[in-house]
Symmetry: D3
Subunit: 174 residues, 6 copies
């Protein structure tokens, strides 16, 4: 049966909320297309990691969770031409019948193009969001319990903590 | 052990030569990053399939061959600025220590950037190349035995044979 | 007699102030080139409508006012290279001998390129400006009396009120 | 009644074949959106005229033929990402329910996006095509009887004959 | 001896702090590549001058100081893809063995690419910075003593004072 | 006296014909702006060298000939929008009053924008052209006597001979 659902996120970084969302979507459709958004961005406070680093975070998570055979990874850049963004998604993805998103702008653009969009139940939303996790990284808080183990390892390999702290220092100075 | 190799191709379409190459590279390194080149192109005779369609071809092949836990899929667009193409690859990929390619231009640009590049042994090169397979599709020849079963299925689902024939007719008329 | 004047605006949306300006310019030159600026933008609070939707607003207004034979519609995208913006206008327009604008930045760039620029008398400027009209749309105020009838119809056809309200909600949340 | 049809062409230059096509489409739908394709190109042998010059050609023709109240003019650039071209058309156009085209590639991309596309009956196709008209301009043949009077006037105003001859000489030298 | 150092700045405008930095770098390496950053920007309050105007400022300074045979001028645009910016620098520059910069983001991206980066001693940093000089220009303060004589002359030739004041007025109004 | 002339070339590579042209232009105007065209291209048979490598070739030549105080170096990318190319030149150059070029397309675009363009007397044109020099490099002919000594040195430092031969082999194979 060929029943593909789209899931878009920026994964800056991948955290347990994304993990829950992926599992939820797998319970609803046979296959999930995980699309990494804002693919061209990196080395900003909001988008610290390259798309290549984010690909690795997601792939390692899927491997550890035995989900590789349910999930297909792709990427989509941002565009200032909001009206063509959905066609960029379609270019970068296998055909999908439904999209899952809680982001109101993503929903708006997908719906304007005629896509069906469903929400994803939140789990502990105040804590499990990437802004909070980046804040905890900056403040040496406990971010490691909020992301997959493999993500911790990848962030450490690429000196991601130092990168985010430097990006934060930059912003505060400018 | 973290020993990643890069493999770049256009996969227009994925064929058994690519399959052999992937298995060869897996025999040399622990993990393969499969990067889909010319990612922005589709609906031309040389690049008939979208990057989303090619992602699906490769993922289905890897799934059928039980290789999903060795291979990580990514994408890289062409750029007219040849000198920055390798940095685009690096942006779109996890870190790799070696690249595998038989394409002389790919080798040239990777080597100019200081990467180590190794060739891949060819298997039946005269037959197993995408130009020949697209020709066979146009001429109703036996292309199906040269590509993975899942690729045949995907090409049929998206009316790929008709697409390639129309693109061929266009070119011959123009 | 060939005496063309340029009029640039974003028309987000077209309102009666634009209508007055167009009639004023027609009283000064034989033909008006109406150039829709920021052509690539849409689905933002500042630029909610696509260039195609704005083309329709202006064309319907001109039709209702019997001005189609005086006015020629074109489009020009924004560019971060401010210095080449006037050459983009020239590429997208028939030749013009004078430009009309009250926008200081538009005036500055046109004058830097050697164009003659004249101001347009304002009519009820505090009310008749697009920012105010978008605000009235958000607050369910009386925006309909401030725009041409055909513009009201077009905005309703495309669910423009809901679109602007959603874009406003997005911004306030982010 | 709101029954809009799309007509795309490059209009290099506008000729009587385009004129017939526009009238044919008007006989089928209430309104025609005339979209100038390859909008970013000019000063090549294939695309000698700027989009601004082509806008003027079409507008003057429509004015002389009393068709301005049936036809709405817009523009669409080419993109190397063929898969998103139709979304560019949609961004630049009011909503349309049908497209008219004889160009096989335009038909292919529109149909791949789910649009209805109908052909346009040809009138004297061997003579009335832009390639032939540019050839006649180069060879000082009788091109003036094949294009609207206003187009002759515009081409003369902008020294279009000399431009095309210079572009032809360039190509033959290179 | 071939010992090239890179120095990147925006030079909006060139001031005596840049002059000191150039002389400092010349004392450390045999040749300096002076790269003008944000090359595509102009006519903004932060980047008022075109890259062509900035090229002239630097060249005239080097000529007056007899430094032309030590310094080579190049340009590099900004890119939203931070990860490829260093490869853009490399494309636009002769090979260099060391870079000099006090800008933390420039340092960060160069170091992430493996470049050696050294700081430059500041001279009177509170006064000798381009933001302060643009402020003095806006307020009719004494900016002329803080920039090379040739820069004063160039700014006056291009009506740079009026340009910056207009850009400032624009921003305050918007 | 401020009398600036523009000279545009691709300098692939710099050869003695360019050297003669620069000296000729210096005999006509007080200062020469040398603009490197096709700045974004490299690693093609037609454009083998990066703009950074070409900057170095020209700068070293000017230094050896004691011409650095007459000549200012800049760069300009190609654009598919031919109509805005001259505005790109103006953005990247100090103001100039005259341009020197023998290239018919460069002349055409500059003249269309209202610039004065003068030809440059050829010296031994059949031999002193970059196409011939690249051919001699491929065939191990005597190219070294046709380019400045410093250019020979730079080409050798960057393995330019091997690069051109590989690019030639690529083309012949493709």
């Amino acid at each position: 049966m060929d029943d593909w659902g789209l899931y878009i996120g920026r994964f800056q970084p991948l955290h347990n909320g994304h993990g829950h969302a992926i599992k939820y979507i797998i319970s609803k459709v046979s296959n999930v297309i995980i699309a990494i958004g804002s693919a061209q961005h990196s080395y900003t406070l909001i988008n610290p990691f390259t798309v290549g680093e984010r690909v690795k975070m997601i792939w390692c998570f899927l491997k550890d969770e035995n989900l590789l055979d349910k999930c297909i990874l792709t990427q989509v850049p941002d565009t200032e031409q909001h009206c063509i963004w959905v066609s960029l998604i379609k270019q970068h993805s296998p055909k999908f019948s439904i999209a899952f998103s809680n982001d109101p702008f993503t929903r708006m653009l997908l719906e304007a193009d005629g896509c069906i969009v469903e929400p994803i139940p939140y789990i502990n939303r105040e804590v499990l969001n990437a802004t909070n996790i980046r804040r905890l990284i900056i403040e040496d808080g406990d971010w490691k319990s909020l992301v997959p183990k493999s993500t911790v390892k990848i962030i450490e390999e690429i000196n991601g903590v130092e990168r985010i702290k430097r990006l934060y220092a930059l912003q505060n100075k400018a």
